[in-house]
C-alpha cells in the first residue's frame, strides 16, 4: 500500500525543491488520494506567502500604460491620441450638426421612396454583415477556447482511429474535464450525400453527448465544444448520422478513441 504524503515533504514539493523519484511518487500518490492532494494544495498556499517577504518594489507606470494600450488594441478600440474632451463632444450638439442631421434624414427618406431596390440591397448587405460578424465571433471564441485548453493543466489528448469497413481518416480530441472543453481536429473524406459526421463524448456512465456535427468538406475539420465541467469520458467517437445530426448515435462509427 502506498504511504500518504508526509506533510514535511508537501512543503518541499510546494517550494519546488522536491525532485526525482520522490517527487514523482508523491504526485502519483496524491492523484489518487484526495486528502493528500488537499494537503499539497494547502502547502502551496502556505508557501505562496513567502512572496511577501520580498523587498517592496513598485513597477514603472509605463508597464500599466503598455498593458492597457495592448488591451485596447486587442479590443479594436482606438489606442493612440488624446481622449475626446467634453468640449469636443459638444460639437455634436451644435445647430450646424442638427441641421446636417435633418438634411441627411430627409435625403435618406427621399432616396428610400425613390428606389426601394437599393434599400433591399442594403438590407441584404446588412444580413451578410451580420452573418460575417457572427462567424467572426465564432472564430474568436474558437481561438480563445483553443488557447485555454492548450495551456491548461489536465488536458488529455485522445487519438481517434478509423474503424474496419469505414472511411480512412485520422483525428484527435483534446479534452479538459475541469474546463469542460474539447477540441476535435481531424481528417475524413466528405460525408456521404444527405449525411453528416457527428462527434460524441461517451461518458463513463450515461448516454453519449453530442459535441458537434460536421460534413468534412474541408481537408481538415476543427471543432470546439463545451460540455458540463467534470465529465469523465470513456471514449470519443465520430458516427455517420442523417444530415444535421441526431440526438443519439444511430449510424456506423467511423472513428473511435478510448479516453484514459
Amino acid at each position: 500500500m502506498e504511504q500518504h504524503v508526509n506533510p514535511e515533504d508537501s512543503e518541499l514539493w510546494a517550494l519546488g525543491a522536491l525532485e526525482g523519484e520522490e517527487k514523482r511518487a508523491l504526485e502519483a500518490h496524491a492523484r489518487s488520494c484526495a486528502p493528500c492532494a488537499k494537503e499539497l494544495d494547502a502547502a502551496r498556499q502556505r508557501v505562496a506567502l513567502l512572496a511577501l517577504t520580498a523587498p517592496p518594489v513598485t513597477p514603472s507606470p509605463s508597464v500599466k500604460d503598455a498593458l492597457m494600450r495592448q488591451v485596447r488594441a486587442e479590443r479594436g478600440a482606438p489606442v493612440a491620441g488624446p481622449a475626446i474632451r467634453p468640449r469636443q463632444r459638444l460639437l455634436w450638439l451644435t445647430p450646424a450638426f442638427a441641421v446636417a442631421a435633418i438634411v441627411f434624414a430627409g435625403l435618406s427618406a427621399w432616396l428610400w421612396s425613390r428606389d426601394r431596390h437599393d434599400l433591399q440591397r442594403v438590407e441584404l448587405l446588412q444580413v451578410r454583415l451580420s452573418a460575417l460578424q457572427s462567424r467572426t465571433r465564432d472564430m474568436v471564441a474558437s481561438s480563445e477556447a483553443t488557447n485555454e485548453i492548450l495551456g491548461a493543466p489536465g488536458t488529455v489528448r485522445v487519438p481517434l482511429a478509423s474503424q474496419p469497413g469505414g472511411p480512412a481518416g485520422r483525428a484527435g480530441v483534446l479534452y479538459n474535464a475541469r474546463l469542460g472543453s474539447a477540441i476535435y481536429v481531424g481528417q475524413l473524406p466528405p460525408a456521404p450525400a444527405g449525411k453528416s459526421y457527428q462527434l460524441w463524448l461517451v461518458p463513463s456512465s450515461g448516454a453519449p453527448i453530442s459535441l458537434g456535427v460536421f460534413s468534412s468538406e474541408q481537408p481538415t475539420t476543427a471543432l470546439t465544444a463545451r460540455v458540463t465541467p467534470g465529465l469523465t469520458p470513456k471514449a470519443f467517437a465520430v458516427t455517420v448520422e442523417p444530415e444535421g445530426g441526431s440526438s443519439q448515435p444511430t449510424g456506423p462509427k467511423v472513428l473511435v478513441g478510448a479516453a484514459g
Partner: protein, 193 residues
Amino acid sequence: MPLQPGPDAALVERMIAGDESALSTLYDRYSGMLFSMLVRILKDTSAAEEILQDLFLQLWRNPSRFDPSRGSLPAWLLVIGRNRAISRLRSRERREVSDDSEGFSMESIPSPGNIEEEAQRSQLAQRLKSAMATLPPEQREAVELAYFEGMSQTEIAARTGSPLGTVKSRVRAAMQSLKDKFGDGTARQSGRL
C-alpha cells in the same frame, strides 16, 4: 454612476464582460506585490516588467481560468508569476517546476479568501519578514534559495556545500518554524492571500 471596485471575483466577472477598468483595479491592487517577487527572483526589472505585463494580459484574455471558488486571485497570480520567473531564470536547464505538475495546478487550491486590504497585507508581510529574520541563517538561506531561485534540494546542497539530508531538514525546520510562529498554521494566514 461609476462602478465601485469590488472583491476580486466581482472584478474578474467584470473583466469577462469586457470591463477594462476592472483589470486596471486589479493591476493597481496586486502589481506591487507581484513585481516585488518577480524582481527578487529575476534581479532584472526589465524582465520582471515583461512578465508582470504578460501576467495581467493573460488574466485579461482568459479571466475564466481563475476560479474564485477554488482559490484566491493573488495566490493564483503569485504561483504563476513565480513559476514563469523561475522558468525564465533557469530556461537553459528546463527544470520542471511545480506549476507544470500534471493535476496539481494553482487552480486546484482551496478557497483561501482574499487580500482585500493593503494594510492587512502589509501587516502580514511584516510578520512574515520578522518570522524569516528569526530563522537560523542556514534555514533561511535554504528556503530562499528554493523559493526565490527555484533550486531543488540537490542544487541547494551543491550551492551551500551541505549534505542533501541536512538541506531537507533545514527546509522542513524552517517551514515548521513559520507554521509555529503563525499560530495553528500558516494556512489560516494564507487565507489572506
